[in-house]
Symmetry: C2
Subunit: 202 residues, 2 copies
Amino acid sequence: MAEYIAPIGRLIEEFRRLPGVGKKTAVRYAFAMLNLSQEEAAGFADAVIGAKRDVFTCPECCGLSSAAEKCDICANESRDPSVICVVESAKDVMVMEKVRGYKGKYHVLGGVLSPIDNVTVDDLNIAELIRRVESGEVREVIVATNPTPSGDATAAYLARILEPYGTEVSRLAYGIPVGGDIEYADEVTLMRAMEGRKYFNV
Amino acid sequence: MAEYIAPIGRLIEEFRRLPGVGKKTAVRYAFAMLNLSQEEAAGFADAVIGAKRDVFTCPECCGLSSAAEKCDICANESRDPSVICVVESAKDVMVMEKVRGYKGKYHVLGGVLSPIDNVTVDDLNIAELIRRVESGEVREVIVATNPTPSGDATAAYLARILEPYGTEVSRLAYGIPVGGDIEYADEVTLMRAMEGRKYFNV
């Protein structure tokens, strides 16, 4: 006899697709679904399908758009087109948008260069970025890839290939997080914090 | 401007229904869904709806059944009908089924008595349990509620109301988990382990 009756077993398997979800968590989620009303479950299912159906890729920044045209940020005339923040994934755009002060635009790479994972320049939206920079109106490209070896390598690569266009390329500062404690910072973060130290202008 | 485009925001809200899922996890799940193919997303949605549509309550044990009749365990002639293991939720049936040696049947209470949460005898499947015991073929009821105050209270209540029927009522043993270390056991578990100590027959 199977451990779970078929419809539940199937739902458990589906939940296991989610990142970081193992067997026990999937079982917990599946049984939580059973406690929803028929309408609520239908709403959940519809949201899953809707997210696939109604989400498009922005032709400009390669991020997510709610229509088959420019996303809200790219279409927003009040955003500064001379600054582009390059991020790894579409999710990171939303993360960066929490920084209320940033009024530039974005470019989603769709990953980072990683020879080990067979991710090369052609797998990323780098040609699209060059096309935007070539237009001439981009003054600065801020590379906001994660502080991982691949993220660092990708930032260095972008700095090199964008150099001929006379665009400034910068990288986010890495160091001790605000509110963090030096005691708990790892060595690499501490090293980065030392390298990026700021001098007081006395 | 909303933090996320509408279809994604909606999916994030749906994922937040799941137990233990906060904003960050829901965002992670929603973006994982976007990486599925259209067919995979449809399969996921269908599994959610299917679990609601194709799962029924067993009229005998109040557990889950894949048809609008007795569940596989209740319908299984080789299972001993004279022993009933009482569990809190349908999920616990699957947990107990891992104990390969158990060949009795089950009864799902659908919760535990908890005055604080307004859960009274009428909210649980206790009348159904009494009906099964009344039939006379039940020799023993093993109460496998969790070792919480409510679980204990429910077990004590069941022992009292089943007493007139001459059915033995027992409770799972609680103590140090196998492979566990006494050093890390909490006081209540240690107390239970002391209370439930076994004498060597020398």
